[in-house]
């Protein structure tokens, strides 16, 4: 069948089962948007307020559904506006295919209008990227891009298509996804790795060694990382934790990798980790980390981290092994598969003595009750009480993010959507939009801070236009809370440029976008607002007033020993 490039692109998206695209049109991508009309009903396009919003939306869509997110953008500023979203997806291993068009071939490399070396810009922040200059290679490149985005350790892939390519004709033949590996560029990858692909990748000896290590251990400790979430291995992980009866810490990215109400969970680990997690990590004799990369926020000081333990690392990405901390044993493989093999071989362990020791330390932070203003735990608890159990929580970055992760219980992968690695303020609203689009049957809330929310609140227009019932909680303490906390503790209370003592009024802002806004400073009003918001079935903003000096507790300074809790 003869089609033009932009139609081939649409057909390729359909091959992949894509029915949702986020994006923003512009000069070079016009052919693509022209074809989009023909595919109405099969490919639904969501127009955001800004390319960055689109990039976060596709990311949130991918994280919450486990499918690949897709973004369209134009050349030049369109592509560079994506970069923060691309880097966010890269750091958190989220599968998103970003598609932009570039100027036509006769203009490339001449500093033409809206031209930028997009693939060069994207190089360090994508898993892989392609520039398509030949329409005959379009289909196979798109197929390869999707395969790479979702394979192994997932991640963003960027495709830059020259404008002339989107208008040129080529022969297109439908190939079902299952057959992609026998056709085109993917065939080459397969050929290259055939011996590795055919033999079982996970080494049985490695598994057996770990089984005997676990059986010898008296004080085991588990870390549930983002790999468990990306690999959708929560059931296997839950079973595994119960089987070895081990206290389990959860990283920021690992939220939802284990049932949040499982009594083995010690809470977060690392800089804002609970006492139980951090002390157990320091005392254990074996530490098994699954899909976790020991970032500087988890293994604060790599030299002294879990110094009494044998460290075992299970990860799909071989280059993570021995990168940040030295490990004693590792297994390379998909978390789901590795854990299934381990579960088959392990017998039920019992570590009640060790658990008793670990859980003698608190897993949650206590706050003073009954004050005049709201406290963070109170807000989280109230939300948790009134919203359905399976509500998807998207967050921005800062204090509110830590509070949300500390106090909510996440039970399944994709329930928590947060920018853990890159720490992108302004991520949450776009991501919540993507999550809601991908999960129309679930409630979606955004937990934002006043600083983060202000960054990309332009996407309220997307919430309103598409009628997405997202409830936005702004944890408003009139300051960049995390910055203030550091200034308070480390910079001698020199609060430089962290005050948010200025507009906008979020209630009026919501109104301007055609949404309802509430301002609450006590439990009762908060409850009323949530009930009203739920009943309305529309998006709304609930501005929760918090004390300016509220801190995230506990806290361990960067690079310090993991049990060196600051006195707050």
């Amino acid at each position: 069948m003869k089609l033009v490039g932009s139609e081939v692109l649409m057909e390729c998206l359909l091959e992949q089962g894509v029915d949702v695209v986020f994006g923003y049109p512009g000069g070079t991508v016009l052919n693509v948007y022209d074809s989009l009309v023909k595919y109405k009903g099969r490919i639904n396009h969501y127009l955001t307020a800004h390319e960055q919003g689109a990039s976060h939306a596709a990311d949130g869509y991918a994280r919450s559904t486990g499918k690949v997110g897709v973004v369209f953008a134009t050349s030049g500023p369109g592509a560079t506006n994506l970069t923060t979203g691309v880097a966010t997806a890269y750091m958190d291993s989220s599968p998103v295919v970003f598609i932009s068009c570039n100027v036509a071939e006769n203009l490339i490399g001449k500093d033409s209008f809206q031209e930028v070396d997009s693939t060069g810009v994207m190089l360090p922040i994508t898993k892989c990227n392609f520039q398509i200059t030949d329409v005959d290679k379009l289909a196979s490149t798109v197929r390869k891009a999707f395969a790479i985005a979702r394979s192994g350790r997932p991640g963003p892939v960027f495709i830059d298509i020259l404008k002339n390519v989107t208008a040129e004709e080529t022969e297109y033949e439908f190939v079902p996804r299952a057959e992609h590996k026998e056709k085109g560029l993917l065939e080459a990858i397969y050929e290259r790795n055939m011996p590795d692909m055919q033999k079982p990748a996970i080494d049985e000896e490695d598994i057996d060694k770990l089984v005997s290590m676990i059986e010898e251990s008296k004080k085991p400790m588990l870390i549930c990382g983002g790999g468990v979430v990306r690999g959708r291995a929560h059931e296997e992980f839950n079973y595994f934790a119960n089987l070895i009866d081990s206290p389990t810490a959860v990283t920021v990215m690992g939220g939802g990798g284990i049932n949040g109400r499982n009594p083995l969970v010690t809470g977060m680990i690392g800089m804002h980790g609970s006492q139980a997690s951090n002390i157990a990590c320091n005392e254990c004799d074996i530490l098994i980390a699954v899909g976790c990369r020991f970032s500087d926020r988890v293994a604060l000081d790599p030299e002294t981290f879990a110094s009494q333990a044998k460290i075992v690392h299970i990860d799909i990405d071989r280059s993570e092994i021995n990168k940040n901390v030295r490990t004693d044993h590792h297994i390379v493989g998909d978390a789901k598969e590795v854990l299934r093999m381990l579960n088959e071989r392990l017998s039920q362990q019992d570590h009640s003595e060790w658990k008793k020791f670990v859980f003698s330390y608190p897993t949650e932070t206590k706050y003073d009750e009954g004050g005049e203003t709201l406290n963070p735990k109170q807000v989280c608890d109230t939300i948790a009480k009134l919203m359905p159990m399976d509500t998807i929580v998207s967050t921005d970055v800062g204090q509110h993010q830590m509070w949300a992760i500390q106090h909510f219980h996440f039970d399944y992968p994709g329930q928590l959507i947060t920018s853990g690695g890159f720490g992108t303020m302004g991520f949450g609203l776009g991501a919540a939009i993507g999550a809601k689009v991908g999960n129309p049957d679930k409630s979606v809330i955004l937990v934002a801070g006043d600083g983060s929310f202000r960054m990309n609140c332009n996407e309220l227009t997307t919430v309103q236009y598409y009628g997405l019932p997202i409830i936005i909680f702004v944890f408003n303490n009139q300051t960049l809370g995390m910055v203030r906390q550091w200034q308070n503790l480390i910079y001698h209370k020199n609060f430089s440029q962290s005050d948010m003592d200025r507009g906008p009024d979020f209630v009026k802002l919501a109104d301007a976008y055609g949404l309802k806004g509430y301002r609450v400073n006590n439990q009762k009003d908060l409850e009323i607002a949530i009930e009203e918001a739920k009943a309305s079935g529309e998006g709304c903003v609930i501005d929760c007033v918090l004390d300016i000096d509220e801190m995230v507790r506990p806290m361990v300074g960067g690079g310090s020993h993991i049990t060196d809790f600051m006195k707050i």
Partner: protein, 186 residues
């Protein structure tokens, strides 16, 4: 970046896809981590789609291992071999143009060239161009001695290296399988 106390010259051999942007991507990986590439030689192999690269970099052993791991992670990289001095043969090709006016000077240069088994490849009334191969030390020594004449220009290929013995860069290993697994579970 942190100071490396045991930094020494390390040689890595790579097989990569012969496609636009791949060399840049690899070079970038080194610069991002703050390693300066001392020498870099990329040339075709017997397989038309594949380029083989030899890279010389100053780094200590743990950092070199880290670099290898990061390289292996890149899609266009097929394999990486960290070559050891004991087990490998190093060669470099050097073109050097020196000023030599008059028969006496020219004879001196030719004599020195003979000592290093360099060939005279081009002669002009006032210059001689020599080509020599050898390991780095030999070439450095030759350049040093010739500097008594005026050196007009030097071009070196950068070191290329190949392992002694029947082992090749293509050999399968468990580690290589592990890296490919992470890349390509489609």
């Amino acid at each position: 970046m942190e100071k490396m106390t045991d930094a020494k010259r390390q040689t890595l051999a790579l097989l990569v896809d012969n496609e636009p942007g791949v060399l840049s991507q690899i070079a970038r990986l080194f610069s991002r981590k703050g390693y300066n590439i001392e020498a870099f030689a990329a040339g075709a192999t017997e397989n038309p789609g594949i380029t083989r690269i030899t890279i010389d970099v100053l780094a200590d052993d743990p950092h070199t291992e880290l670099l290898c791991n990061q390289l292996r992670k890149l899609y266009p990289v097929h394999s990486v071999k960290w070559l050891s001095v004991e087990n490998s043969i190093y060669r470099e090709l050097m073109l050097i143009k020196v000023k030599a006016e008059g028969s006496e000077q020219r004879n001196d240069v030719i004599q020195l060239a003979n000592i290093f088994r360099a060939q005279i490849i081009d002669v002009s009334p006032s210059t001689l161009t020599l080509v020599a191969t050898g390991d780095e030390d030999k070439l450095a020594g030759m350049a040093n001695i010739l500097s008594e004449f005026k050196i007009l220009e030097i071009a070196r290929t950068g070191v290329v290296a190949i392992e002694r013995g029947i082992a090749t860069i293509n050999d399968e290993s468990k580690e290589r399988g592990e890296f490919n697994y992470g890349k390509n579970v489609l």
